[in-house]
């Protein structure tokens, strides 16, 4: 189900917790699984659960509770835009409108070519750098004004 590299990452996470508390690694393992698969199909969640010797339903509960897990396929680049109040005061809404117009999709949608998914996000803890985007849960982009947005979309090949 998973590559040797991903399994190595799983082991590294499991080692952080007491031997009898393997379940503690479920969040990190699901994140690594998602990174490899692009999203979390039920089989991947079940495989993570089996790896950690926990009930699949308990792993599914975690996957469905935290909002950075994708339980449905997303585009190659998932762009999450913070529109919470502190960001909105410094252009978060406007940046969101700009990207939506540019890609021709709304929040929660994916472009027809499967390249981009847009998500409206909650506070990313970077309000001083607004407008703020996160690409594929990992890469945070600050001060996203039109010029920077154009450049980002250009770089997403």
């Amino acid at each position: 189900m998973f590559s040797a590299e991903t399994l190595e990452k799983f082991d590294r996470e499991v080692a952080k917790y007491p031997v009898e508390q393997k379940q503690s690694a479920v969040m990190a393992c699901l994140a690594h699984a998602q990174e490899e698969k692009g999203w979390l199909p039920p089989e991947a969640i079940e495989a993570v659960a089996n790896y950690l010797a926990m009930p699949p339903m308990a792993a599914y509960e975690v996957a469905s509770f935290y909002n950075m897990y994708d339980l449905k396929p997303v585009g190659k680049y998932k762009i999450t835009i913070c529109t919470n109040l502190p960001c909105a005061l410094s252009g978060g809404y406007h940046a969101g409108e700009y990207v939506q117009k540019k890609l021709g999709i709304g929040y929660g949608e994916t472009t027809a070519d499967g390249k981009f998914t847009l998500k409206e996000g909650e506070c990313m803890g970077a309000c001083g750098d607004a407008p703020v985007f996160i690409v594929n849960n990992r890469s945070m982009c600050s001060h996203m004004h039109p010029e920077q947005i154009d450049k980002l979309l250009e770089e997403c090949k």
């Binding site: 909002n67 410094s90 970077a126």
Partner: protein, 442 residues
């Protein structure tokens, strides 16, 4: 740039952005000397806790609970595993200080946690890092590797016989995990739903073991308190409000960012440090302690100093020190609509008053904003928030109710205007003019 400005800075002093976070730089600044001094001289746990008490360091995550007192609740001689946990799940809208501490001074957090573990007899620790900040999580892991290799954490630290293993745990998008018992559930690999208290974490915490949870900035302050002495740290601030504090300033100022200033500094000084209001517009309102803190009118906060007691006297709370600044172009109904959506989205769903109440509050504010409000809606909102506050397991319910309550109290006439005229008091073409977004057509 590590810090946009400081007055008598302590935590973030002498830092140069991404260039000076490594172990060698921290050691050159005098880092790990306090851990070493404590272990070399066998300084007692009571003495360490006593020094922290003297500093009157109050929890920097939002609640402002005295740290030394919290530490003294731990059953330090209780046999078996005990834990210290750092709360870097920084998701309170407006707050972004812990991210900079993790980026620019991660070893201060590690040393602070190691000292805390020593003082409370803990042998394991976790730092729970906000899911949205990946780079900072990776950097903290790197810093842990450095500290482990140098013998500052791990087994038999500096030959003292003291053991402390420390790891980072990465969240994945849930505001509720900033609540300490939800955070513990999350580390245990479950949904982050708060636990009923008591029992408190000091007696039944992570994996059911005694646990103390502190905020990142709180832990990072510890080495500096022990270095300068509790009394001197206290004197940096004002009585009952010890030390300097990081303030995250967002919104309509010229230079949003983090500022480290002594508690008790006038709000007007902080505003000046931020370069004043963007575009020279007029200050309308400030949320002084993160989105859960009651909103304050400009004229009230302009007379306040930035500390727990003054802000509380002004009718709000200092919280995490997240200062959200709003100018005259902000429609307060629209602002509250966004905050209410946040709490609706982030309620964990465990308690009915919060799960249902946050949805109701958002729905009603949303319809007022969209010109469909009814005259009875203000009473309805007050009734819903009154049925949430104080009736839930954790404080998220209160945190959702306070903004609604305070926006209605301080800016009620704007809500009434919206209901009566089906439109906003602030003309649509002016709204958000202060955002600074370079508007062009896509």
């Amino acid at each position: 740039m590590a810090m946009l400005g400081s007055i008598n800075g302590v935590l973030m002093e002498g830092l140069d952005g991404d260039n000076t976070w490594h172990l060698k730089d921290y050691v050159a600044r005098g880092g790990y000397q306090q851990l070493k001094r404590i272990l070399d001289n066998n300084i007692s746990q009571e003495e360490v806790i006593g020094e922290v008490k003297k500093s009157v360091l109050r929890g920097r995550g939002g609640a402002g609970f005295p740290t030394g007192l919290k530490w003294s609740f731990m059953p330090r001689s209780f046999p078996g595993d005990k834990y210290v946990v750092c709360n870097t799940d920084e998701g309170e809208p407006g707050t972004f200080k812990d991210r900079d501490i993790m980026r620019y001074n991660p070893h201060a957090v590690i040393e602070g946690m190691a000292i805390a573990a020593y003082a409370m007899g803990a042998t394991r620790g976790y730092n729970y890092v906000h899911g949205e900040v990946w780079m900072e999580y990776k950097r903290f892991e790197e810093a842990l590797d450095e500290a482990r290799a140098a013998g500052f954490i791990g087994q038999n630290i500096l030959g003292s016989g003291f053991n402390f293993e420390l790891f980072a745990h990465h969240g994945y998008g849930a505001y509720i995990c900033g609540e300490e018992t939800a955070l513990l559930e999350s580390i245990e690999g479950k949904k982050g739903q708060p636990r009923f208290k008591p029992p408190f974490p000091a007696s039944f915490g992570l994996y059911g073991k005694p646990t103390t949870i502190n905020n990142t900035e709180t832990f990072a302050s510890i080495p500096f308190i022990l270095k300068m002495g509790g009394e001197e740290f206290l004197n940096l601030g004002k009585p009952n409000n010890g030390g300097t504090k990081l303030f995250s300033v967002s919104g309509h100022v010229n230079r949003p960012g983090n500022y480290e200033i002594p508690l008790g500094t006038p709000f007007a000084t902080l505003l000046e440090m931020c370069g004043g209001m963007r575009g020279g517009r007029k200050l309308k309102a400030v949320i002084p302690g993160g989105s859960s803190a009651p909103v304050m009118r400009a004229e009230v906060i302009m007379d306040c100093t930035m500390d727990y007691d003054s802000i509380s006297k002004g009718g709000s709370m200092l919280g995490s020190g997240a200062v959200i600044v709003m100018d005259e172009t902000v429609c307060m109904v629209k602002a509250l609509e966004r905050l209410s959506f946040f709490y609706y989205e982030e309620s964990c769903g465990q308690c009915t008053p919060c799960r249902e109440g946050t949805a109701w509050m958002y729905k009603v504010v949303h319809r007022i904003e969209n010109g469909q409000g009814k005259p009875e809606d203000i009473d309805l909102l007050n009734s819903v928030l009154g049925n949430i506050a104080g009736r839930t397991i954790c404080a998220l319910g209160d945190a959702a109710a306070f903004p609604v309550q305070s926006f209605l109290k301080q800016f009620g006439s704007e809500f009434e205007y919206h209901i009566e005229h089906k439109t906003c008091l602030v003309p649509k073409d002016v709204q958000w003019a202060g955002s600074g977004f370079h508007r062009v057509q896509a």
